[in-house]
Structure formats: C-alpha cells, structure tokens
C-alpha cells in the first residue's frame, strides 16, 4: 500500500512539475486567465451598451410605432448574430472584417464577443421592459411624464431588477464562451492549457486545471450576482 502511494505520488508530483513549473509553464495559465478576464469584462460592457440601445429601440417601436427603420436594422442584427455560431463570427471579424488591418487580437475578441453578447442582452432587456405592466407606463404618462421620463424613472428601474438574474447568467455564458478565442491564436485561459498540453502531451492536468479555474470563476461571479439581487430585492418589502 505504502509503495503504491509513494509511486503515485512520484507520478503526481512529476506531472505537476512538467505541466506547471518546468519552463515557467504556469505563466500560460496566469497570463491566459488575465486575457480571459479582460475579454469577458470588456465584452460584457460592450454587450450591455449594445443590448440596451437595441432593447430601447425595439420596445419604443413596440410601444409607440416610432423608429421603424432602426427597428428593422436591429431585427436583422439580432437574426444574424443569434443565428450564427460565435466561433464563426470571431473568425469572420478577424480574417474578413479586419482582414487587411493589423489590430490587437484582444480588441478583435472584445468586439466579437461584445457584438455577440449584445444580441442576447438586447432580448433580455426587452423581455424585462415588456414584463412591466402596461399600467405602470400609463400611470407615468398620466402623471405628466414624457415617454422618455416614464421609461427612465418608472419602467427601467423595475425592468433592470427583473432581468438581473438573466443578465448574470449571460455574463457566465460569455465567460465560458470566450474559451474559443484560441481560434485566432489569442492566448486565453483555454489556449494556455492547450499550449501546455502540446508541450507535455499530458491531457489530464492542463485540462482539469483549466476546467477548475473556469468553475471557480463562475462560482464567484454567481455569488456576486446573487448578492446584488438580494440588495435590490430589499425595496420589495
């Protein structure tokens, strides 16, 4: 038994050394993690901006019939972005749209994932706006608020609270989705694991490590979203 444990331990520590310590290979993981976080946070912000704009345009059209042309453009955007895989969009943005430009790949990834996320966030926001009872809107107007004021002071704050869980979920999905950034030779967390794997030819440690790091990040961010939800729900009582 003891010999068996000793043998496993030698194997285990050897694998750890080869995969993470030799040639400073852990740097692939830490630098990759940095890239993943930068891409995710920036893309989420870009996605929220795009999504908010689109949701506003679409629900204004739904409620008032104005902005017909802008609404049509938004519909096309939503159809195209939600109808194609994110990897393909990423490759198109890198090799086709920025085909002849030498641009930082982090920027390319932020744009690609931001545009992608924007489409989903737009629908999340829109569902939030639509979920607010029409009576709220009418009450606002009858108090003398303009359309914009009603939206800003009455509808949006309630809508935001309703969509927060879905928005948090979108953030988590995006965090994991950025793992395809390696397709454009960007060294994110998943690619970092792949590089180590290509050096050590060991499948277990690089993949499991990468998986655990993603998992820990998702757990942390889910907790944060829950905390925020609880704070916002205080006003319900």
């Amino acid at each position: 038994m003891q010999a068996w444990v000793a043998e496993k331990w030698t194997w285990f520590s050897g694998q750890i050394y080869d995969n993470f310590i030799k040639d400073d290979r852990y740097l692939y993981i830490t630098n990759g993690l940095k890239a993943t976080l930068v891409i995710t946070f920036s893309a989420v912000i870009l996605g929220i901006v795009i999504g908010f704009l689109i949701a506003t345009i679409r629900s204004t059209y739904d409620k008032t019939g104005k902005l017909k042309f802008a609404n049509a453009i938004c519909s096309i955007y939503l159809t195209v972005i939600r109808g194609t895989p994110v990897v393909v969009q990423l490759l198109i943005i890198y090799f086709v749209i920025f085909g002849s430009v030498n641009i930082s790949k982090i920027i390319v990834a932020i744009i690609a994932f931001g545009i992608n996320s924007g489409a989903y966030v737009a629908e999340i926001f829109r569902s939030g706006i639509m979920s607010i009872d029409e009576g709220q809107f009418e009450a606002g107007r009858s108090l003398g608020f303009s359309y914009v004021q009603t939206m800003r002071y009455i509808v949006m704050p309630q809508a935001f609270k309703n969509v927060l869980p879905a928005l948090g979920n979108e953030f988590i999905v995006l965090l994991k989705e950025t793992s395809v950034a390696g397709y454009i030779a960007l060294q994110d967390l998943a690619k970092g694991g792949d590089i180590i794997r290509s050096r050590t030819f060991s499948a277990f440690f690089p993949l499991i490590t990468v998986a655990i790091i993603y998992l820990i990040m998702v757990i942390i961010f889910s907790r944060l979203v829950k905390l925020l939800e609880r704070r916002l729900r205080k006003s319900d009582r």
Partner: protein
C-alpha cells in the same frame, strides 16, 4: 445527516458508473482496426481530398495496415491532440508528419523514420527578414505544438502567435498581421503555391526526421510497424508514395 448520506450515495453511484465505463474500454476483443490519429491540414502529408484524407502519411499507413492485415481508420484532430490521443490509447498510431524530438520520446515511442524535413521561414515578398537571425523582435506565426512552435520560443523578443492550423498562420501573414511563419518545408511549399506574394527563405535551420508514434511500451505494435516500414522501404513503395505527392525539383 440524511443529506450527507444522500450526497455520499450520489457520489458513490457516479464513481461506480465511471468505473464501469473504464471497464468497457479494457474488455475489447482482438482488434482488426488500426486507428491512426492525424491532423489533416498539413499538405502534402495529410489533407482532405473530397471527404477522404490523403497524403504521404495516410498512404504509408494504408500500406502498413495492409501489411499487418488490419483495416485503417483515420481520425482527424488538432495537431496538439495527436500525441495525447496516442498516449491515452484513443488511437493506435500517430502519423502526422511527427518530428522525432527528445521531449516527445518521453511520452511516446517512435518507429523508424520515414522522411526528412526542415523548418523554413515564410515571409512576404520584399520583407526585411532574411533568415533566422533577423526574426528577433518580430511577430511569428506557427502551428500550435509543431517543432516550429518550439524552435521559435528561443527567438529573442519575438511575439509568437500559435494558430490551430498552419494555413491560418499563413493567412494571417498575407494579411500583414504577422511578420513571418515558421513551418515544415513541404507544407510551406503547398501553402505558398496557393497564395500570392509570399516567399520561402532559402535558409533551412533545422534537420528533422518524421516517424510514426505509438503508445509508450507498445512494443508489439511498434515491432510490427517497423517490419512493415522496412518492407515498404525495400520494395520501393515508400519512394513511390513520396514521389506521388512531392514533385522532384
């Protein structure tokens, strides 16, 4: 307390299912299939023609499988997964223009070599890069896990961009995103034949030999493959296959 027992029961159940799955792998019948792992984006060694994978490696393996009386099954995967698949038993043989290196030898066993190769530098026409020494500080595209990838790690101040596919690195080069691509000589020729404005620098800075890889310690299969390779070398089949894909200059 009840909760904990339930949780333990669930964990145990999962473990049992997993160990069952592991048993399933072990109890295989006598194999008649020879599974070859490759990365079919590396012309002329392996690439798609229609929905079939062809090329020097594919043809050699077909001949080897015939010698062994087995049926060849080709699995196409990312290059950096080829050796992992062989080592983990997902494939019997790795045939992907694999250069024999010391690091790789630690993880798999190599057959006798069957081809020579070098790493070359591809640049744009009129580039200021003239050889390995002038790569310092440039951005260099490579295919992840290839010997080119490992060599350029030593280039001072260079940014290394590791693409999943060799041709994507070449594409990035034509678009001016990177300054040079380091890749095996034969694929390099195949890639620049399809693109304009690229040249291969004359300086070849490594000498490498390709071999087939089998799982560490699988001496039975290795012996059979070496015998088959020797036979193919002696009767000229090997040269025929190479000549079919690489036109003499």
């Amino acid at each position: 307390m009840k909760k904990i027992t339930r949780f333990t029961a669930a964990v145990l159940a999962i473990l049992m299912v997993l160990s069952l799955a592991a048993c399933g792998n072990g109890g295989k019948d006598e194999k008649t299939k020879l599974i070859m792992a490759t990365n079919a984006e590396f012309p002329p060694y392996e690439y798609y023609e229609g929905d079939e994978i062809v090329g020097i490696d594919a043809d050699i393996m077909k001949a080897v499988a015939e010698e062994l009386g087995m049926e060849l099954q080709i699995e196409d995967m990312a290059f950096d997964s080829v050796l992992v698949a062989v080592q983990g038993g997902k494939a019997d043989v790795g045939a992907a223009a694999l250069t024999v290196t010391e690091d790789r030898k630690k993880n798999v066993d190599f057959s006798d070599t069957y081809a020579q190769a070098t790493q070359v530098i591809i640049v744009k026409d009129g580039s200021e890069i003239t050889g390995f020494d002038s790569l310092a500080g440039k951005s260099i595209g490579v295919q992840l896990g290839t010997t080119g990838d490992i060599y350029v790690e030593d280039v001072e101040g260079a940014t290394i961009e590791r693409y999943n596919k060799g041709f994507e690195a070449v594409q990035a080069l034509t678009q001016g995103k990177i300054d040079a691509v380091v890749i095996d000589s034969e694929p390099a020729k195949a890639f620049i034949a399809e693109t304009q404005g690229l040249v291969i620098l004359d300086e070849a800075f490594t000498d490498e030999e390709y071999a087939l890889a089998v799982a560490k310690g699988n001496e039975e299969l290795l012996g059979k493959i070496n015998d088959a390779l020797k036979k193919l070398k002696d009767d000229g089949t090997l040269d025929e296959i190479v000549a079919k894909y690489i036109k003499a200059e």
